[in-house]
């Protein structure tokens, strides 16, 4: 099914006889059962006010269309959503609704916030076919419960997004990357903590134990006005010893951070793909326990990408820790099991929003 309007979408959900797989562009590796319900027919930017830093778009609008419109006004989505296609081997066109349904955030998460922090309002169709709106298109809004946050990352299990409004930000004039070579994982996480704990407004902190040239590389990004970037780059460089350089070439910076954002290091490789969200300083120890074939640290260590031999139960290897492990490619349940009282709340909310249990059934615990 591919409804062309919110009313048709509501009709499709209300009339569903069995489970529905909710799908934006189908690029995020979400697998469920039942008839396919695609949002691609709900497409188009409905409002864009660059002076108010806000955009409203139908959920099925291709991400590329949103990015092109923003680019024309010198703006961007500051949360830097990743493209999952290369990593997961999926095809199709990512949609703006899918970005928020999966709460997809990139390296700039550490400074600017996550997708959920930029989602100002939603319209969605719940599991009974009722149309619901929450939030709006203003920056500050505490009017009633924040169902916007609840919908961000719900992966379509509470309702099918029909429209999103988002906050956008101006593109910075300049950027720079401090590149440190040869650090161990522990040293890298400590270095990234030092950078992120400095007054120099770091917008990215990543570490690859094996970089493109086969050696460990740690990357620290800053962005802003030209003079300010130059000043902070020198200040940051001075924080570190050893093989430290500053990269200022815009094309190389774009490519380098896309490499981190899209986890290019693991493209086309066999095995299972896991995503670990943890306390940054715990990361090296967790990685040691994981025994992964490949590792990439982002968010200063708060996000770790792992490629493991097919069928390795990462959660069993790690035991209990502050955070969670998501299985993006592999035969394990996608989401980390929750503590009993939290799981009860999650189930309760799903039962309220989708009483027939038809939306992306079985995806969440």
């Amino acid at each position: 099914m591919r409804p062309e309007s919110e009313a048709e979408l509501a009709e499709a959900v209300a009339g569903a006889q069995g489970p529905l797989t909710v799908r934006g562009g189908g690029t995020r590796g979400v697998v469920s059962q039942g008839d396919m319900l695609e949002t691609g027919g709900l497409s188009g930017i409905t409002l864009y006010e660059p002076g108010a830093l806000t955009m409203v778009a139908q959920a099925g609008t291709p991400l590329a269309e949103v990015e092109t419109a923003l680019e024309a006004e010198g703006q961007r989505m500051a949360f830097e959503p990743m493209d999952h296609r290369g990593l997961l081997g999926t095809t199709g066109e990512p949609t703006i609704g899918g970005v928020f349904a999966a709460n997809v955030s990139g390296p700039r998460r550490v400074q600017a916030g996550a997708a959920r922090d930029f989602l100002l309002g939603v319209r969605f169709v719940d599991g009974t076919g009722a149309v619901v709106k929450n939030g709006g298109r203003v920056m500050k809004n505490v009017t009633g419960y924040d169902l916007v946050k609840l919908m961000a990352g719900a992966h379509g299990t509470l309702g099918v997004l029909s429209e999103v409004s988002l906050k956008v930000l101006p593109q910075p004039e300049a950027a720079a990357c401090i590149v440190i070579n040869g650090l161990s994982d522990e040293q890298a996480v400590a270095a990234m903590a030092r950078a992120l704990g400095s007054p120099f407004d770091v917008t990215g902190a990543a570490h690859a134990p094996v970089g493109v040239d086969g050696h460990p590389v740690t990357m620290i990004r800053i962005e802003g006005f030209d003079g300010s970037v130059a000043y902070r780059a020198e200040k940051l460089r001075a924080l570190f010893e050893g093989d430290v350089s500053i990269e200022r070439d815009p094309a190389r910076l774009r490519a380098g951070w896309a490499w981190v954002r899209d986890v290019e290091i693991m493209h086309g490789q066999p095995g299972d793909i896991w995503r670990l969200s943890c306390k940054p300083s715990d990361a090296p120890n967790l990685v040691a326990k994981a025994g992964a074939a490949q590792v990439l640290y982002d968010w200063g260590g708060g996000l770790v990408w792992l490629r493991l031999t097919e069928g390795t139960d990462l959660r069993a290897r790690l035991g209990a820790f502050d955070g969670h492990a998501t299985c993006l490619r592999g035969a394990f349940p996608r989401f980390h099991p929750e503590a009993a009282p939290v799981a009860a709340l999650t189930r309760g909310i799903r039962a309220k929003f989708d009483p027939k249990g038809i939306l992306n059934t079985g995806l969440m615990p």
Binding site: R109, N141, T143, K149, P170, Y231, W299, P341
Partner: protein, 482 residues
């Protein structure tokens, strides 16, 4: 503003309830004499008052859990209270309710600079969170005007903002995790030192739920390193429209100031008389603050002043030193006090798209004339969060009602232009009955469904947020089950 009638069944068993509360708390943590419960009869929305059945002051998560389990078993409504600074009546009790105050829970539990978070008990005041990490040049970003007094618990309940949230976001963007007790006494942990939710973002919906889903006892908060410096610039214009256009241009130009504050003529006059800040006599005043090192500040201010000059300001004053910076902020920071000095006032909190600023200010001016009540505007212009202050005389019959009617019309205007009823103060009882102007029945139903899951008996702060008519079925079903 109506509140539900107290339940006579609960009033009749007060002695037993108090006795049970005393069995789990020290004697000095249970307040039940009428003379003493009056201390909890209202919050900062002082027009409405009602002493609670009792007030309890637990010191630990376990005590909070014990209290809630007892109230759950007895069917007693519970009204959580941080420091009682809500402007929306969020902590207003009913006569049959127990106030659960977290004021004694103010410890710092953990400070972690490497991972940039602090874990505190929820009764700790906002400013003292920064106080705990200031020595190492870190701070907690959300800064509501009441930050000296307001508690983190209340900040989380209302998803509080502040003057600097244009750059740093509001509470929800700086909250990493909570320990929360549900109405039946169950303790849940949501989030932690990691950055995102593993499943549904329950933390996201708890933040801003006005104490209706659970009682937060501990919070993990993101802390940030202080910038090297900060400096404001003051810009005066001869019309609100031009000042509004300047705000829009600054934002569009890619400068992200930490704050853009806006004051209109009535507010400028009152605050200047009160504080002696030496503001220019003009129609609209902007205070724009930027952060960074000396060179970075200079670079940003050069861009801002260039934009400001394009709009022909009547005054452009760049602070040259700390003293001048303080003088620029002096009037703005004493604005509410200044207005209170000359009049009774009601402070509104609607948010509008920044592009609608000139139109909304013009309409407020017209409505002010129609109602015969003066309105002064002071607000966070960068994010469109307005604070119209309606001046009235509380001692004159009918003036409060007239003021509330004008307030409701202004908030409806905010919704009409694509904005919302409240940007940072919360709904409480104050805007409860206006909710149906912003939300359709299905929208409110979806929100109330969340409360059904967390608090099926509708015992936590039950008469807030939703229009009484909309929540009545749920509240009376809970009573009948009792």
């Amino acid at each position: 503003m109506q509140m539900p009638q107290p339940n006579p069944v609960i009033l009749a068993k007060k002695a037993r309830i108090v006795e049970r509360l005393l069995s789990v708390l020290p004697a000095d943590a249970v307040v039940h004499e009428l003379a003493e419960t009056r201390a909890y009869e209202c919050d900062a929305l002082t027009a409405y008052r009602c002493p609670p059945l009792a007030a309890v002051l637990p010191s630990t998560t376990q005590e909070v859990s014990d209290v809630l389990r007892i109230c759950f078993e007895e069917g007693v409504p519970v009204v959580p209270r941080g420091s009682g600074t809500s402007l929306a009546g969020g902590a207003l009790p009913t006569g049959d309710s127990v106030i659960l105050g977290v004021a004694r829970m103010n410890a710092v539990l953990e400070t972690d600079y490497d991972n940039r978070f602090i874990r505190v008990q929820s009764g700790r005041t906002n400013l003292s969170v920064t106080g705990a990490v200031e020595e190492t040049d870190f701070f907690y970003a959300p800064d509501p005007s009441s930050q000296l007094a307001c508690a983190i618990a209340g900040n989380i309940a209302m998803n509080s903002g502040g003057a600097h949230c244009l750059k740093y976001g509001v509470t929800t963007n700086n909250l990493l995790g909570v320990t929360m007790v549900l109405m039946d006494g169950t303790v849940v942990e949501l989030g932690g030192a990691h950055l995102d939710a593993g499943g549904l973002d329950l933390l996201g919906v708890v933040c801003g739920s006005e104490g209706q889903l659970g009682v937060v006892t501990e919070a993990t908060l993101r802390i940030l390193r202080k910038p090297e410096g900060a400096r404001p610039v003051l810009i005066g214009y001869d019309s609100n429209e031009v000042a509004g256009a300047c705000v829009s241009d600054i934002i569009k130009a890619g400068v992200l100031p930490v704050a853009i504050e806006f004051m209109d003529a009535p507010c400028i006059r009152a605050t200047d008389d009160f504080s002696g800040a030496g503001y220019p006599k003009c129609e609209a005043l902007l205070i724009v603050e930027v952060e960074g090192s000396e060179t970075e500040i200079a670079e940003q201010l050069a861009k801002i002043t260039e934009i400001a000059r394009r709009h022909n300001p009547v005054e452009l004053r760049e602070a040259q030193n700390a003293d001048e910076a303080a003088r620029i902020w002096l009037g703005r920071k004493s604005a509410f006090g200044a207005m209170g000095n000359i009049n009774d006032y009601m402070c509104l909190d609607g948010t509008i798209p920044v592009t609608e600023l000139p139109y909304v200010l013009k309409r407020i001016g017209e409505m002010s004339k129609e109602y015969g009540l003066e309105v002064a505007n002071v607000f966070h212009a960068g994010d469109g969060n307005m604070h119209p202050l309606i001046l009235f005389n509380a001692n004159q019959d009918g003036q409060l009602e007239l003021c509330e009617a004008l307030g409701a019309d202004i908030l409806k205007l905010c919704v009409e232009v694509g904005g919302c009823l409240t940007g940072e103060h919360g709904v409480g009882i104050e805007k409860r009955d206006l909710m149906s102007h912003q939300y359709a029945p299905a929208d409110l139903e979806a929100q109330m469904a969340v409360k059904d899951v967390f608090d099926p008996g509708w015992l936590l702060n039950p008469a807030k947020v939703f229009p009484l008519g909309a929540s009545e079925g749920r509240r009376s079903a809970a009573l009948a089950a009792e």
